[in-house]
């Protein structure tokens, strides 16, 4: 009986989130939507005038847009990690975060996918990048990492979407049962006739396990391929074999930080404290700490490689990164990604949600800056000293970047009001 009451309470607590939105919610949504619309307007301006409205220049051909792309793909990473990998490892705390993390993955990917388009000189023929039989009788260049990106990102998007949808099926059925009116009908369609029969659960379990196993290699592959955008080139600072693991670790670091940023206010706003405990946060903070250590190690290795390799281009580039025009950003990145997370070794701080939230904000900032420093410094200071130059983002780029956050949070806010934010069916197992 106790269990039944608890289940009833769980369903009520979680579905409370789907109630009519309050004014703060609407205000937040409006702000995010405005940011997004502003960015759309700026993109339109950029399309009509040309990429000259950005700060991009010669030699820095990639700037904030590609930074954003890598950043958002990185954010998208923890979704798979938390839902698939932790599922395979049977980490119980996973169920507190997996729904939010999966949603975050999809939204971050949606945002990320926009940036390669925004940065194109002629976006109106972006489909030249897809392999399809055309009258041009020309396949894309399969040697180009940019084509690999197309495959990697679209695969990841599809798998994440299926995984997310599959996971929500039982919860959608609960929502169908507990809600009424038009919403009940929508959830009834969305839940695909889920009845919760033994046979369905059996099939569901097998499929979920299979998808988790299928998605796990993607954690490694997607960001590895994104990193190859850089590693395959010949630029000093880009052309290095450490990039794949380094980027994956960085992606998980930023993704975990974003999960914390999303779930801490969510837990408070929807009063989910009983279901998302401090212990769970502590567990995820440990992941953050671990990946931060890996990332710091990668920073060290990069410098080690440059130092021991004794290649004049590499050595000069790494000197420039730390002491050149962008030195402030470099040291900001070191502080945010390597030093601040070290404080999480202290248990008390690890369990302090406000502190954890602040650390996560810094890590997110640090990871964005890391991508910026990595992309821009290598381009700004490569082989030919005559061609060296410095890049400063324009207000259009900054506006579109803000808009990307607007879009991301807008999507997440909509998600909060339309899909149960916790996996009720999994939490019931825990009861």
């Amino acid at each position: 009986m106790k269990s039944l009451a608890a289940r009833e309470k769980l369903e009520q607590d979680v579905l409370k989130g789907l109630r009519r939105p309050g004014k703060w919610y609407l205000l937040g949504l409006a702000c995010c939507a405005l940011l997004f619309l502003g960015a759309l307007g700026l993109w339109g301006y950029q399309l009509s005038r040309g990429l000259g409205v950005t700060g991009l220049m010669h030699p820095v051909g990639w700037g904030v847009y590609i930074t954003n792309f890598v950043f958002w793909v990185g954010i998208a990473h923890s979704g798979t990690l938390i839902s698939a990998v932790l599922f395979l490892f049977r980490a119980r705390f996973r169920s507190s975060f997996n729904r939010a993390a999966e949603a975050m993955t999809i939204f971050a990917l949606m945002v990320a996918g926009l940036f390669p388009l925004i940065h194109l000189g002629r976006v109106w023929i972006f489909y030249y990048l897809f392999p399809y039989p055309s009258q041009r009788t020309l396949w894309p260049n399969f040697r180009s990492p940019l084509v690999w990106d197309v495959f990697a990102i679209s695969t990841y998007m599809i798998v994440s979407l299926v995984f997310f949808y599959l996971g929500t099926l039982p919860d959608l059925a609960i929502a169908r049962r507990r809600l009424s009116g038009i919403r009940a009908r929508i959830y009834s369609v969305l839940s695909l006739g889920w009845t919760g029969s033994h046979g369905q659960w059996k099939q569901y379990g097998r499929l979920y396990l299979f998808l988790a196993a299928f998605a796990t290699p993607l954690v490694a592959s997607v960001h590895s391929i994104v990193s190859w955008d850089f590693a395959v080139s010949i630029l000093p600072g880009w052309h290095t074999t450490i990039f794949a693991p380094y980027f994956v670790a960085g992606a998980i670091l930023s993704g975990t930080a974003m999960v914390i940023i999303l779930v801490v206010p969510l837990r408070r706003a929807l009063q989910l404290q009983p279901y998302i405990s401090i212990d769970h946060f502590e567990a995820i903070a440990k992941i953050l700490l671990l990946t931060s250590l890996i990332v710091s190690y990668a920073y060290l290795v990069e410098y080690g490689l440059a130092f021991y390799g004794h290649n004049q281009f590499e050595m000069e580039l790494f000197r420039y990164r730390a002491l050149g025009h962008y030195r402030a950003l470099f040291w900001l990145m070191i502080v945010c990604n390597s030093l601040v997370p070290l404080t999480l070794f202290i248990r008390r701080l690890r369990r302090n949600l406000a502190y954890l939230f602040a650390v996560s904000l810094l890590v997110t900032l640090g990871m964005w800056v890391e991508r910026f420093v990595l992309i821009v410094t290598s381009l700004a200071h490569d082989f030919d000293p005559y061609a060296w130059g410095t890049y400063t983002p324009s207000w259009v780029e900054i506006g579109i970047t803000c808009g990307s956050f607007g879009l991301f949070f807008m999507l997440f806010l909509i998600f909060v009001k339309t899909v149960p934010v916790l996996s009720m069916s999994e939490l019931k197992e825990r009861l």
């Binding site: 220049m57 010669h58 990639w62 990048l129 894309p140 082989f383 030919d384």
Partner: protein, 925 residues
């Protein structure tokens, strides 16, 4: 329908059908002319190559004008021409921009009472001039003609015109008048002329101040001569100057003098050579008049080491065929005339006069006056004694020193008539503006120096309602009822030519566009007495810091080419500044004042001052500041009272740090190559990188593999190649805003790299057409691909604009179209029709002039043979005054590039990256 209606309608329609036939529109006639063989240059795709002469500066280089579909689209140096023999400088390349300049005067204009310019017809304008001339004559006021330097038939016609109409011709106006030199030669030898210097005949060249490669008399010609001279073993070139010029950068050794000490150096050399007893030829009275300068004094005055001075004297003595050229900044100083005199004496002493210094082939500067003449004009204007003032193809208002206050005094003339091409600030000072045709639109001839006759033949119909100066003078003669002799200037010229040249010469002249005529020997005798009188009393002054040198600019000559957008787009070769003006300063001096690039300083001399951003110039003397003279029109420069030459070195200049910084488009990211061996140290032989394993299959080449060689020993960094590339390949000129953001579009650039001692090396950098091109595999859409002839091709239509290719290019030679390229009308007519236009969002870069390869291939296919070596000449290689750039087929073992690419001097930039470029550089030494 009634029968009656039918007939009415029939009548109406047939009448209407006949109406267009009544049109007087003659242009419609062209539509049917294709029934007969089409006119030259009208056939689409078929280009016409016409001879002409460049009018952008007084040098008078020979041109080949490429005319396509009735429009001049490219200028090239005319091979074999006695002045330039194939090369053309960046100003010559940019002359097309003057032809199609959006601000060209389109019809005669007259200032009305309210000060506004109103168009009027040529008829009205010329009638007005004739009336005003007559009226001024009656009032007893002088009618004056001030013209820029003219040569050949136009000079004669101008004189005839002046005689007939009672117009007084003033000595012609050039700010680079070389007046001190001419005066010195007049004093010494009775020949107030500018001789022709033969660098190619010398084994030791000592140039003092003369900017041979920038603006001095005939820069392309000198560069050509230099390229021949340097091929001789043991050729040495020493250049002495107080500042830092492109000429100095290219000399074997640059001797940095204290400003004003040129005369001391020359006195020392004269005395030392005299005392050696080997070459003593100077008369006694002259020797007595020479300032006695010992080695120690000379060292103190010049700032050179005593040992170096002694060695210099020895070098001059040991050289078999020494040549001394003084001029430019050396004679543009308060003691400039003395320097010129001493230089003339040294030239005489070492036996250069008559052999390597030819007065028989004197550069045609006799009609050019000096600033004294302009001073006299200013005085006459002030006394209200001038009626009509005709100013033709000269811009004294912008060029004359501010102290003369010419713009103010100009207003005193009765009627100011300007014959000019651009509607600029100076043009707005006139009452009546008569638009001049561009040299490419006019008939004419030029005699750049004695013995050279060069043809001007219209390459296209005048774009606007303009006329050439000759046409205007003839028309004015006719309207004044004076004998005009010919109906048109063309006929006038034909008459002159027929009178002077025989049938064979005429034919040769018409075909090759130039003629070398025999010259009469000029007897020269040193007039020792006169010279001694002039030498006495002249002192050697040494400037006090700071000294400000107003160096002549390779980009704008004396400023006249400054209004051509292309020349602002091309960076200054030494400082790499494109837009804006700057003050060059030695790095050590800047460090002492804690100044960096772009920091603003206030420079002041007398009551004049200017706020300028600093640009560090390695190799510049610490007490010397330098600015390009044309960029400082407001500076009140003194005039040398003895020679009438503009003094271009200011002493006792004050410098004040302002503490703020300005925007300045500096294109170089670094002045140093950071030991990266882009230009290898001649002391070290480059290591040959090991053969690298490759992941992808090597590209096969069947018949051709195009390659380029660039000889750095010959490259003088003059950027003529870059200018030629702009014009040939329709490279857009993007302007200051984009240059400040680092978005220049040049496909080819000159990279100057300075070593610790401030010596410059120049590296022309263009797409290297790598065999293992890093740009190719990263392009997702095959826009960058390797063609079967070894070209790294960019397919604009495929390009989606990821810019990955540019990121991955170690040479950073790819250019992205950040905006839609703009061509302000009528500049779009200048575009090469053989090339695709690029849209915004597309990457572009050097194509090795693929359109020229295609043209050669078509020709070869028509004649059923392979393309011959040397048949494809890229635009950059064509324009190069020294022939440093060669192009050809690397698979052809007989080709020049095959041989040069295997030379001991050959290397490839960043060979260690394994990109296998198709551009081979040949290092110095």
């Amino acid at each position: 329908m009634e029968r009656r209606d039918f007939l009415q309608l029939l009548g109406l329609f047939s009448g209407a059908a006949m109406l267009p036939g009544c049109s007087e529109n003659r242009s419609a006639g062209k539509l049917v002319s294709y029934l007969v063989p089409p006119d030259e240059g009208v056939l689409p795709g078929a280009a016409l190559y016409l001879p002409s002469t460049c009018g952008e500066c007084p040098a008078g280089c020979g041109l080949t004008v490429r005319v396509s579909e009735g429009r001049a689209v490219k200028l090239e140096g005319r091979a074999g021409h006695p002045v330039n023999d194939g090369g053309l400088c960046m100003r010559g390349q940019a002359a097309l921009w003057r032809l199609y300049h959006p601000e060209r005067l389109r019809n005669p204009l007259r200032r009305d009472g309210a000060g506004q310019f109103q168009p009027l017809s040529w008829d009205e304008a010329l009638t007005l001039v004739v009336e005003e001339l007559e009226q001024a004559r009656q009032e007893g006021r002088a009618n004056l003609l001030l013209s820029g330097r003219t040569t050949g038939t136009l000079t004669e016609l101008q004189q005839h015109f002046c005689r007939q109409l009672g117009v007084e011709p003033l000595p012609q106006f050039e700010i680079f008048s070389h007046a001190a030199l001419r005066k010195a030669y007049g004093i010494l030898f009775g020949q107030a002329e500018l001789p022709h210097y033969r660098i190619d005949q010398a084994d030791l060249l000592l140039s003092i101040g003369a900017d041979l490669l920038e603006t001095f008399v005939s820069p392309v010609g000198y560069a050509r001569q230099f390229s021949r001279a340097i091929k001789q073993d043991g050729f040495q070139w020493l250049h002495a100057e107080p500042h830092y010029s492109l000429t100095g950068a290219n000399a074997t050794e640059r001797l940095v003098l204290n400003p004003g000490s040129e005369a001391a150096l020359l006195s020392f050399l004269l005395l030392r050579i005299e005392s050696s007893g080997q070459e003593g030829r100077l008369p006694r009275q002259l020797l007595r008049a020479l300032p006695a300068v010992s080695a120690g004094q000379a060292a103190r005055l010049t700032g050179l080491a005593e040992e170096r001075l002694e060695r210099l004297a020895k070098q001059l003595l040991l050289a078999e065929r020494p040549l001394l050229i003084a001029g430019g900044i050396a004679t543009g100083q308060p003691n400039g005339l003395q320097t010129a005199l001493l230089a003339g004496l040294l030239q005489q002493q070492l036996g250069m006069i008559g052999s390597r210094i030819e007065f028989a082939r004197a550069e045609n500067y006799a009609a050019v006056g000096s600033l004294h003449d302009l001073q006299r004009l200013a005085e006459r204007l002030e006394q209200d004694r001038v009626g009509v003032l005709l100013v033709c193809a000269a811009d004294p208002l912008a060029r004359a020193p501010a102290a003369l206050d010419l713009p103010g005094k100009f207003k005193r003339a009765g009627l100011r008539v300007g014959l000019c091409d651009l509607f600029d600030d100076s043009a707005r000072q006139f009452d009546l503006l008569l638009p001049l045709s561009h040299p490419l639109e006019s008939w004419g001839d030029a005699v750049p120096r004695k013995g050279v006759l060069s043809l001007l033949k219209p390459a296209l119909d005048p774009l606007h309602d303009s006329r050439s100066a000759g046409e205007v003078w003839l028309e004015l003669l006719r309207r004044s009822a004076k004998p005009a002799e010919s109906a048109s200037y063309q006929e006038y010229l034909f008459d002159v030519w027929h009178r002077r040249l025989d049938e064979r010469q005429l034919q040769q002249f018409a075909e090759q566009g130039y003629l070398s005529l025999p010259v009469a020997a000029v007897p020269l005798r040193l007039q020792a007495e006169r010279a001694a009188g002039q030498l006495a009393g002249a002192e050697t002054a040494v400037a006090a810091p700071w000294s400000l040198v107003l160096a002549p600019s390779i980009r704008s000559f004396d400023g006249r080419s400054g209004s051509l957008p292309l020349l602002s787009e091309l960076p200054d070769p030494l400082s790499t500044v494109s837009y804006g003006r700057w003050l060059a300063m030695a790095p050590a001096a800047a460090q002492a004042l804690q100044l960096e690039d772009r920091d603003l300083v206030r420079v002041a001399a007398g009551d004049w001052s200017a706020d300028l951003p600093v640009r560090l110039q390695p190799g510049l003397a610490a007490s010397v500041l330098m600015i390009q003279g044309d960029l400082l029109p407001e500076a009140s420069l003194p005039i040398d009272p003895r020679s009438g030459e503009l003094v271009r070195v200011l002493d006792g200049v004050r410098l004040e740090k302002l503490g703020s910084a300005a925007q300045l488009a500096i294109l170089a990211g670094s002045s140093s190559q950071h030991g990266r061996g882009l230009i290898p140290d001649p002391a070290h032989h480059a290591e040959i990188p090991p053969e690298q394993s490759r992941f992808y299959r090597a590209h096969p080449h069947k018949e051709y593999r195009w390659a380029m060689t660039v000889d750095l020993e010959l490259c003088i960094g003059c950027a003529a190649c870059a200018a030629a590339c702009y014009v040939e390949n329709n490279v857009p000129v993007v302007g200051r805003r984009d240059h400040l953001r680092g978005r220049e579009m040049s496909w080819l650039r000159i990279e100057p790299f300075y070593d610790q001692a401030g010596r410059a090396g120049f590296l022309p950098m263009l797409c290297q057409h790598c065999h293992n091109a890093p740009c190719e595999p990263v392009c997702p859409v095959y826009a960058a691909y390797h063609n079967p002839e070894g070209l790294n091709v960019q397919v604009y239509q495929r390009c989606v604009g990821t810019r990955y290719c540019s990121n991955n290019c170690p040479y950073k030679v790819r250019r992205f179209n950040w905006w839609q390229p703009q061509w302000q009308a009528p500049l779009e007519q200048m575009r090469n029709p053989d090339l695709a236009a690029r849209d915004r969002g597309v990457m572009e870069k050097c194509t090795f002039c693929v359109q020229r390869i295609r043209r050669a291939r078509d020709r070869a296919r028509d004649e059923e043979r392979p393309i011959r070596d040397g048949e494809v000449v890229t635009a950059c290689g064509q324009s190069c005054p020294t022939g440093a750039i060669r192009f050809g087929n690397l698979l052809d073992e007989q080709s020049a590039v095959y041989r040069l690419a295997r030379s001991e001097r050959a290397y490839r930039v960043f060979a260690e990256l394994g990109t296998e470029p198709s551009v081979y550089y040949l290092r110095k030494g």
